[in-house]
Symmetry: C2
Subunit: 66 residues, 2 copies
């Protein structure tokens, strides 16, 4: 699963720690998701979606399904 978190953080001038705070998760969780180590839970994806005002599909792309 690919994601645009790094770019979105840059646009909003958020550090990983900033984003983690706003999402209510740890900095390491944000880092791991950003680096593709694992995928966020659906609720966390929804939080990101709301924060950046983008659809989940605009933030995450599942390359497995074409």
């Amino acid at each position: 699963m690919k994601n645009r978190l790094k770019v979105l953080r840059a646009e909003y001038n958020f550090t990983q720690a900033d984003l983690a705070n706003k999402l209510g998760v740890s900095r390491q969780t944000v880092n791991a998701i950003e680096k593709g180590k694992f995928d966020p839970s659906l609720p966390l994806a929804f939080k990101m979606s709301k924060l950046f005002q983008l659809s989940i599909e605009e933030i995450f792309q599942n390359e497995e399904l074409e």
Copy 2:
């Protein structure tokens, strides 16, 4: 997290077992998600999205975030 899986299954005339097969998960997993026992992983949500040709937001609603 609410979802429209039961209705979508009805529209497509899928049993829980049918849907489970198409998604590559167990029937009990489909049942549990449908009954709101837990949320699907993000990759599983994407599979559902593709199968029903609906956005994740059209299938799942996070009532926690208004």
